[in-house]
Assembly symmetry: C2
Homo-oligomer: 463 residues x 2
């Protein structure tokens, strides 16, 4: 058990791969506050959501009782093209740091989408196909999610329209090309294919677009197209559910060596990777079975948990979605364009928000130059060039390991390495050229975002 | 054994990873013709090579007696950052093709360099460090090799100067940025840092450079710098030796399931990947122990084996290297710039050339549009976006599997998937846009290349 030499990389066998996802809400007393239909100010019903989302995803979204939800065999089949992912004992990083801590990371970047996003894309494309749909739509900013969904759509034979923020479409031509190679249709947003897009184009003819606008177009396209639904890559509970395969694989591998982490670290944008990584461990903690310290890491430039408000807000900046109770900077908050490191979402998964609110996890905000310092040190000793997003987790894992060096504690630190930085080299160039800046919003900057939080009935006592 | 269900992916354990490289020359009666010093027209001695290359690499280069050469523990240690690589049973590809054939591939792309190149970079950087050198130099075109060597140099703490063909330096800024991130110095070639570079810049002020020119600069820099040597990423015997880890891992994994391939397919540029993939199987064939069909695949635009001459030629277009007896299109042959798919080398590994000449392996030349057809089909069903180079092997593996579909034969086909196409999206864009052209040189085109083959004493009876 614990005395066996732990290999540098551990891959589960295909038989050991999880057959069930882990629904942490089964152990959250009362789950989290329900989605609110902004028109009625009442909790969303399944019917409210069915015009937009696939039926089975809605069932998963609303399920807060079943701990285990079966992964259909067809999805497990597709998972084999890129899973199991390796659990790595970071011997080289430990050696470089000279720390007595044990560092482990789960690497989700060994697939063409370059990140963990494919775990949920696979599931959502499958459910769309199973429901008999012909096509799905989504939006993408940097492009990882669009790539992941294009791969899954190609595999299951679905048509996919990706609304890509126009400035990314133009500045990241290679991401777009991967998506096209997988047969999906990429539309720069705003476009003239939707009323929402045409309205924006008329008002702001030269705009580079925004994620909010792209979401609006993708949703409009889905609800106005026969046999079509919209698909989202983070934030929602069913996305976290699909990502629980990350934590489940970790746990199976670590249990083999008798290792329980003392600290689990993950980066947070919408929260799906972190939620998936911690799921089975958090489920145990909620049952009083462990005392693991969970640390979610966000950028100091977009500090949803550490400086946001726990209120009802729209999930998108175009205010087209239901209201979710979450930590938010306001749906109109725009992180500085100085910020190169991803994780630019104004809100946070309602599950993660509730767990944070209830004191079950900690959050840390880090500055991007320190994040890239960690990324480059990591790349040189561990070989993998990490995504800027993932590097937020690396930064804090290193900081914790250096704390152990000072105290002599032999803590076991696990972090999520969500992806690779192959399409983020403009950010690395900024760092290499020494022209990367940090950006921390002032209280006045934040107030502008908070002012965009809807002042509606459900927020009356919260704001 | 053979009845056990073969998983989609097989990873060896770290204990099962090879501890010896496989030197196929031990079974080639007489090895291949020696390198010739162009000045003396006599075989190169170790001393001839020592100003340029590391001592231990020269010993390996000249060793044609030992079948097994130990992989030092330090290299095996570094290998763990990216090895073992998966052997994949291509169930999804088989299903898509509807073939009774079994298809396997060894995937070498799951590392930041994106290809198999890191196998030899690791070894060569280690030997340079062990020899007490302070720095090494190399050239790079597309950038995979430069990236691989930068990673290995960072790991072993060596300074690295990479002379990058200027047109690539300018057109592929992201590759350059990966190399810089690993701490290497990237110099656009031609440069004013060498006499060779200055001469070219004076003659052709606006030139975008060439691999030949970059080699000249890298070699000049190495021989004129204290405690520095030059490092090459393909063609040479010691590079093929290091790449034999690919074939050895394949064989260990396939032997576990009682599988011996009927056909082994690999793409060929300088020949290091193909030479490494086939090494242990070819060693057996040379001893009469198997009848495997080996197929090297080259682009129709640069058909070294299928249309070249088996003569002595320079390894570089600047005519600075020793002469090697190999299949060559002439060191001055320039493949058309229409050709997007890599594998643009005028010559071929002397080992591969000799084996081909002696009838132990076959060669096929394929056109690039058909190569990209195969690449895209493969990406959609197997998930991995392949490098254009690797896709040459995919094309022929698919063709062979379709032959089996017609004949009903259940052949076992193994191919090498050398890398990913994440930095080759300009080529995929050409394909997606329908503007990719094929290019097949005419006999007159080839004659221009043949005219650059040196008319020296050792070539007297060959030309």
């Amino acid at each position: 058990m614990a005395t066996k030499q732990i290999p540098y990389k551990t891959y589960l066998t295909e038989e050991e791969m999880p057959k069930y996802w882990y629904n942490v809400k089964a152990h959250m007393k009362g789950g989290h506050a329900p989605f609110i239909n902004p028109a009625t100010q009442k909790p969303c019903t399944k019917a409210d959501l069915q015009t937009v989302f696939c039926d089975e995803c809605i069932d998963q979204e609303l399920n807060d009782t079943d701990e285990l939800i079966e992964i259909p065999a067809d999805i497990r089949h597709f998972y084999k093209t890129f899973r199991p992912s390796p659990l790595v004992r970071a011997y080289f990083l430990e050696e470089m740091l000279g720390t007595p801590a044990e560092i482990y990371y789960k690497f989700e970047g060994n697939n063409t989408s370059g990140s963990h996003k494919l775990n949920s894309a696979a599931a959502q494309a499958y459910y769309a196909k199973k429901q008999g749909l012909k096509s799905i739509t989504t939006e993408t900013g940097a492009g990882q999610w669009g790539t992941a969904l294009a791969m899954a759509s190609a595999f299951y034979g679905l048509h996919l329209d990706v609304y890509m923020v126009k400035v990314s479409y133009e500045q990241k031509p290679f991401r777009k090309e991967v998506i096209r190679t997988y047969g999906a249709n990429v539309i720069p947003s705003p476009s003239d294919t939707t009323a929402a897009g045409r309205k924006i184009l008329k008002e702001f003819p030269g705009t580079g677009g925004s994620l909010g606008c792209a979401i609006s177009e993708a949703v409009e396209k889905a609800v106005s197209t026969e046999s079509c639904r919209y698909v989202l890559g983070s934030v929602l509970d069913h996305v976290l559910l699909h990502q629980s395969i990350i934590g489940l694989e970790c746990k199976t591998a670590l249990d083999r060596f008798g290792v329980t982490p003392d600290i689990i670290v993950g980066c947070m944008g919408g929260g799906s990777n972190f939620g998936g990584l911690i799921a089975p461990y958090m489920g145990e903690k909620l049952q009083g079975k462990n005392e693991i310290e969970f640390i979610g890491v966000e950028p100091a430039s977009c500090p949803s948990l550490t400086r946001g408000k726990f209120v009802y807000d729209y999930c998108d900046s175009a205010k087209t979605t239901p209201l979710a109770k979450m930590y938010t900077l306001g749906c109109g908050f725009m992180p500085s364009s100085n910020h190169a490191g991803g994780l630019r979402y104004h809100g946070m998964s309602p599950v993660i928000s509730q767990l944070y609110h209830d004191g079950y996890l900690n959050a840390v905000a880090v500055e991007q130059k320190k994040v890239f310092d960690a990324a480059v040190s990591f790349a040189k000793c561990e070989g993998i060039l990490p995504a800027p997003e993932s590097s937020h987790a690396i930064r804090v894992a290193i900081d914790k390991a250096l704390e152990c060096k000072r105290t002599g504690e032999k803590k076991k630190i696990l972090f999520g390495l969500t992806g690779t930085g192959y399409f983020d080299l403009a950010a690395y160039k900024q760092y290499n050229d020494g022209v990367m800046n940090d950006y921390i919003p002032t209280d006045a900057d934040l107030q502008k975002g908070f002012d965009t939080i809807p002042k509606c009935a459900v927020n009356e006592k919260l704001l």
